[in-house]
Each structure stands twice: as structure tokens, then as C-alpha cells.
Symmetry: C2
């Protein structure tokens, strides 16, 4: 049996979604598909490349149409941040997978590039738009990692933390957006 790249990727995503990041190995993937590991390496040169493809698949499955008005930069930022967060939370260990691939510099460029473009369109120069995009990204990663780790550990019975003690995502995001707003207003005045 031969598999196309999309079939191998779909199974890799399903492995992570069902059993978590620790279950994703070339050996296990090959065994479940009934092929030699070499058949996996034919499509993905190494584990990092496979992980990067899974991260992109997590983002792709979370994509939603944009509805905010072009002039409403905070509304546009909210849409991108919510989409990214929800996409990661929808897959077991999704925050870990996406943040790791981003740190590897091997993918997950979509959301940060879109945030940069929104901040540039709002009036920030390239340097500030880059910093703003990365700051939003780090906040989202940090929050999603806590939320997902807590939920998974509680549901596995590993810890006794109460679910309602999770911090609110939107209030924190508003703090970061306010820090950007003061820079956008200064840029528009200049």
C-alpha cells in the first residue's frame, strides 16, 4: 500500500490529536499505516519536517473567514488571535506543537505575518509592527499553553486544579492591545 503525503499527514495529525505529541514518531506512524519508516521519510525528511506539517495542518483546520472591517485594526487583531488560539486548543498538545514549530523557524508564519500586516496598515512602522506581532504571539502561546496543559492534566486526573481558575484570555489580550494602541495613536498623530 502506498500513501500520498496528505494521507500520511492526516494520520500524523490524528495521532497527535488522539494521543498527544509524545505519540508522534516515524516508527509508530509507519507501523500504523503498515509501511516501512522509509516510506514516511519519502514524504518528510525528518521528524522536525513532519512536526512542522502537523502544525500547519492544525492552523489550516482552524481557519475562519475574516469579517472585521478593514479600518478596525483591533477587531482584525482579535480575529487572528482568536483563530490561532482556538486552532491550538482544538488539538491535543496543539499549543506545544505550534509554539515549538514556530521556535524552530520551520513554519507557522501565517498568523504572525497577518498580525504584522494589520499593525502596519494601522500606522506602525515595520519594526514596531514586528515587535507588536511577536508580543501578541508570545502572549497567545503562553496563555494557550497554560490553558491546554491545565485542561489535559485535570482530565487525566494528574492534578487537582479547578478549571475555573484559568485566567481570562480576552482581558489579558486587551492589555497587550492597549500597549499597541498608544503606539498606533502616536504614529497616526506624527
Amino acid at each position: 500500500m502506498r500513501y500520498h503525503r496528505d494521507d500520511v499527514l492526516a494520520h500524523a495529525h490524528q495521532l497527535v490529536a488522539t494521543y498527544g505529541l509524545g505519540a508522534l514518531t516515524m516508527r509508530r506512524l509507519g507501523a500504523e499505516l503498515g509501511v516501512q519508516p522509509s516510506a514516511i521519510y519519502h514524504h518528510f525528511a525528518n521528524k522536525q519536517t513532519l512536526l512542522a506539517a502537523v502544525a500547519e495542518e492544525i492552523l489550516r483546520r482552524g481557519q475562519r473567514p475574516r469579517t472585521a472591517d478593514d479600518a478596525d485594526w483591533t477587531g482584525r487583531v482579535h480575529e487572528v488571535c482568536a483563530e490561532l488560539r482556538d486552532a491550538m486548543l482544538a488539538c491535543t498538545d496543539g499549543a506545544d506543537v505550534v509554539a515549538t514549530v514556530w521556535a524552530f523557524g520551520m513554519g507557522v508564519q501565517g498568523p504572525p505575518l497577518e498580525l504584522e500586516a494589520i499593525l502596519r496598515a494601522a500606522g506602525l512602522d515595520d519594526d514596531l509592527a514586528l515587535v507588536g506581532s511577536r508580543t501578541l504571539l508570545h502572549y497567545i502561546f503562553g496563555h494557550a499553553f497554560e490553558e491546554q496543559t491545565a485542561i489535559q492534566a485535570i482530565s487525566a486526573g494528574a492534578v487537582e486544579r479547578e478549571l475555573d481558575s484559568l485566567p481570562d484570555f480576552w482581558t489579558g489580550l486587551e492589555v497587550v492591545v492597549d500597549g499597541l494602541r498608544s503606539r498606533v495613536e502616536a504614529a497616526v498623530r506624527a
Copy 2:
């Protein structure tokens, strides 16, 4: 040979610092100390409890004296954030360990509680001080996880990312602090 809790913890910390989080198991820890796993469980009821102690040890080793003036809330925030970040970066997988234990609700209370107290002293009410503390924490965790994951993967030869492409910590922190500043100024005016 019998070991005190501090000896077991020191060796657990050394295991993580040398080989990373994946190397920390009760079995390996017992083998390296030449004792049965039950001798480890005598001091640490389970893996999560041991991990929590390692996280606290990472923070303890990074502690520095406070020097900022009491009235300088942004200077005080910077001190706590820098200490937390440096402590995590000083230990292999430190960001992962500390963020995980925090998500488990099993420790790492020091920095967030100190940030909350600083923000309350600056004039924020309890709810805002809590949100502000958590937002800073998530930004620091997100940034440190990227920085540490990138550095470790590059040094292991696993990825080819350039080290100088890492985003600046302080500029992003200033964005979050500015978002808090607008709230502090509103609180002081009120």
C-alpha cells in the same frame, strides 16, 4: 545509602539541567542515586510533585536582590520579569518546566504574586492586578519558550534558524507594561 530530600532534589535538578526534561523519571533518578524508586517516592509522592520541586529550585537559584525604588512600579516589574526569564533560561528546558508546573497549579507562585503586589501598590484594583500579573507571565513564558527552544534546537543541530532572528524581550515587555500603564494612570486619576 539514604538521601535527604534536598539531595534527591539537587540530583533531579542536575538531571534536567544536563539532559533536559525528558531525562527526569523516578526510575532514572533512583538508578543514578543507587536506591530503589521507593526511596524517591518517600520524598516525592509522584512525578508531578518532583517536577514542581525542580521548578521551585530553578526559581530559587535565579533569585536576586531587589534594587528598584518602591515608587518605581515599572522598574520593580522589570526586575521580577528579568529574574524569572533568566532563571528559566539558565536551566535546560527551564521554560517548559516552570510553565508546566504553573499550569498544573502546583507551584511557581512567587513571581506572579510579587507582580500582583507591585501592580496593586501602583494603584490597580485586585482584579486588574491579577490580570496584569498573568498577562506579564504569559508573555514571559511565551518568549522564553521560543528563545530556549530555538537555542537548544540550533545547538543540537536540529534546525538551521539563525540566533539573531530571536525577538527582543524588552521591547515586547514594554508594550505589555504600556498597556498596564494606561490602567495605572486611570486608577491614580480616579
